[in-house]
Amino acid sequence: MIINFFNLSFKYKIPLWGSLLIILTTFSISLVLIYRSYNILENTLLNSAQNLGFTIAQTLAPTLLHDDIWRAFEIVKAPFHNIPSNHSGALESVFVLSIEHQILVSSQPKKLPMLSPVNQFFPELDKKLNQVHNQIITIIEPSSSKQLFVVIPVIDNNKQLATLVLNYSQESLNKPFFQSVISTLIICFIVLLILLPINWYWGQHMALPLVQLAKKMDSIPSFLPKKDEIDHYNYDDELGHLFDAYYRMLDSLHEKELLEQGIIKSERLAVVGRLTASIAHEINNPLAGMLTALDTLKQRGNLDDRTLHTLGLLERGLLQVRDTVAALLVEARHQKRNLSKQDVDDIKNLIKPMANKANLRLEININVPPTLPVPAGSIRQILMNLINNAIQSANTNGLISYSVIFDNNHLIIDVINSGSCISAEQMHHLFEPFVSYHEGGHGLGLWVTYQLVNQMEGKIEVESSDNQVRFTVTIPINSSSNER
């Protein structure tokens, strides 16, 4: 049970602990208040009883000396004047006892008639009266009775004339106490009624970021959440530090994932590259033989038309095979000419009519030195491929923007088109050969681009967001390239 409680979510545990504390605090304060009110009530009663008793006793002395029963009666009745009998408070009766414990006069003659012995009505009082010192005010609280007696001697010239007794009922004494208990409890209940919902709201609110964080972290091995999936926690407390750590962890996990994906992809593409290269080489050797044989046969002459026609068919087919194989065999290293600014400008001139034809806006930013030690053919092909691709992907009346910039020993080619984005599935196979997403494309453009970039030890990145696809090629340029 207790373990179950400790296993509860903070969402419940914080408000529950808070509620428990509030309830405990409220009840302890109430208990203290109740205890205090009992003490105050008791002291007030005893003080007022003593004052009242003393005053009555003083006034009574002359009447007792003169045996003026009526005056004595009026005096003992005085505390009950103008008070309805059912609201006289805790004071039930006042009576005067003779030295022999006979009632001389009482405020309730019907109940406590004159000259009757007091043990007839209050036997416990009668017993205790023998034990008390006669000269001082005494409080007698018989354990067996529900009465409380304040006993005051009536003294004249150091001689005790009689004993004045104020009789309080415990029950009516308790009544104001119980009333104060009830009012305290009602206040306590109202306080709880206000504080508990506030506490519950506050507790849940406090726990919410922690709960969200825990939930997201729980899912991490199987699913990597995005950064904005939970509300940001804005404060710099321990929880804030935890959030910062979480974000750092997410960042590095995302980076790691990207890295892993990149490695897998480049490895796959490298394997495909090696495979296609070796296949191309294997095909190229017999192909060259076959083309030479065909050429020799054609030069011999004496061939009828039909055979010539067939030979033509064969030759064209073999040439197509050679072109295709040549396209697969991307070789940047054998190109000797370095890139000049004119090469980049040529591309601009080639592109413009195509963009106009497709009703596209064109934005170009070129910032390169007159020459750069990179193979001109490869860069030209990369640019052409990417821009061609962009023109085909852009929507009608869309925008094509490309930039070629030399910056910090890197040539950066940036091609942006306003087209529909590339799906995750498409992205996965983007640079593989014979994968085309346009009608009529042979699916080798991006493959070739990738191979060229790879061979120049550069990198190619693709970003696809809302209505915008961006290819960024970064090629390092160093002095060693110059020598190649």
């Binding site: 045996d67 009526w70 009666f73 009745k77 019907k110 008639p113």
Partner: protein, 293 residues
Amino acid sequence: MKVLPNRNRRRIVQALSVVPLLSLPFSASTGENSFRFGMTPAFLHNQHALLEDWRLYMIRHLGLKVDFTQRDSYRETMDLIRLKQLDFAWLCDYPYLHLKDLVRLLAVPVYQGQSYYHSYFIVHKNNTQVDSILALKDKLFAYADPYSNSGYLVPRFEIHQAGYNPDNFFKKTFFTWSHKKVIESVASQLSQGGAVDSFVWDTLSKVSPSLTDQTRIMWKSPGYGFPPIVAQINNVNEQDFILMQSMLLDMSESREGQRLLTRLNLDGFSIQKTDLYDSVSNMMKVLGVFVST
């Protein structure tokens, strides 16, 4: 009786109404321009508003300042008469007989058409069995005042007549110093019985019946002369005597006087001979109480 014109009368009232605050209650002089009137528990002497209205009435009709002196026991009023510090007083018949040589019978109130009143012996309303004072032997009994006829002399006379000693007939007796308080004593059951002036009981049963309803009249005495209004013979000359007497006798003839009499629960005042009080005097003789001669 001399009646002042209305405007003058009001001026005098205004002038005099502040005087009682300044005047000394015990002036030794006869007071040519003022009368000192003693009130006793013979009637509801604690109805202050009524007494004040009556006093103002007297001032207007006598053209003189009148001070009322109230004392809680007959004894105190009797002492004031002896000391000549009162000019007039409303006494019970028993004190009147005691002071016979010092006072002169001025007027006797008329109550229910008669100059008589009675002594009522009362018990608590729940006590339905008792019909004689003898049944209250060894009980607690409340007397009004040791100088009261109806509230002291009559019950003691009745006990004496029955052959008991009134001094130890009851278990305990006490004085309440007022007839009204005798009724309160019986109503609250402080005492089991009490003797009370019939005029007070009857008046109270009209004014505050909730008190008298708590009691039951178990015996009614024969009629005695109504507590009289007397004049101190040394202090009051013939002229003042007649002035006061005629003012009282005339009360029933004016509307204002009538209203006051109604509030006093009286019909008016009459002139009576002293033998009206002979029956009380006889009781005093029987009980061996000293009667001044």
